[in-house]
Symmetry: C2
Subunit: 132 residues, 2 copies
Amino acid sequence: MTTPKTGSKRNTPQKAAVKHALGEAKGFVSAQQLHQTLKNHGSTIGLATVYRTLADLAVAGEADSLQSKDSEVLYRACTTSHHHHLICRECGLTLEIEAEKLEKWADQVAKERGFSQPSHNIDIFGICAACQ
Amino acid sequence: MTTPKTGSKRNTPQKAAVKHALGEAKGFVSAQQLHQTLKNHGSTIGLATVYRTLADLAVAGEADSLQSKDSEVLYRACTTSHHHHLICRECGLTLEIEAEKLEKWADQVAKERGFSQPSHNIDIFGICAACQ
DNA sequence: GTCTTATTGAGAATGTTTGTCAATAAGCCC
DNA sequence: GGGCTTATTGACAAACATTCTCAATAAGAC
Ligand SMILES: [Zn+2]
Ligand SMILES: [Zn+2]
Ligand SMILES: [Zn+2]
Ligand SMILES: [Zn+2]
């Protein structure tokens, strides 16, 4: 039996471009927005590729994803592992929040009620100082 | 100046049907699901009407809404005012969670960072005892 | 360079949600 | 009860984000 060669990932300029553009963005951005930005910078990247790359980044833990009010998925480059966000409803400015107590509380609540494999969605919104 | 007659709401069998069907549902359901259920019970209600009624209920605070993973909005009948949910990823079973400390913590975090008009999204997911 | 095959991009297809608009019927006054 | 006003309805058509399809391309290995 030979070692299967399937499942390998390839490095392409498109993926690098998406990664870079996501890093430049200030807050959460949608795939459509990122695609526009890339095209404005001269890239000919396809929309589907942006979607695919962002989804991959989210799975790999290199990006955080979030559902906006108008039914679109927003992405943001993230370095640290597990954390939450404080997001400005006006300008999209995003601050990372860490709360060890909160994590424990959420898992605790799930266990108390007999739920296994706990996970949670926690986001805080508001209007940032600059946007008041 | 006469009392304006605009803006009044009318009670229709369709609204009552949606309200009732939402009350019967065990956990969170989508507008499409609810529409199917209603049709299965013999109703000829239109899909748009289900969407409109659910949106109204959510605004009026009579229903809680939530974004599912597959980009659809889920609704649930709710009685008490502000609370959060513990939701089974398998069967949709939903328990209501109250945590006064949590509310204060979220608002506190926002204020500390200079954010006004704080709000938050907090949901806990897991696999319920029956679904293990 | 050659070969294999993951990846790309253009467009079609999907699925949810919203808009349009003529027809209907709630609430109200008589 | 019989009419009037207009909010509401339902069938259908957009609008919208996202996924799928597939021939063409190019990354990585030898
Ligand atoms: Zn701001
Ligand atoms: Zn957490
Ligand atoms: Zn369950
Ligand atoms: Zn709360």
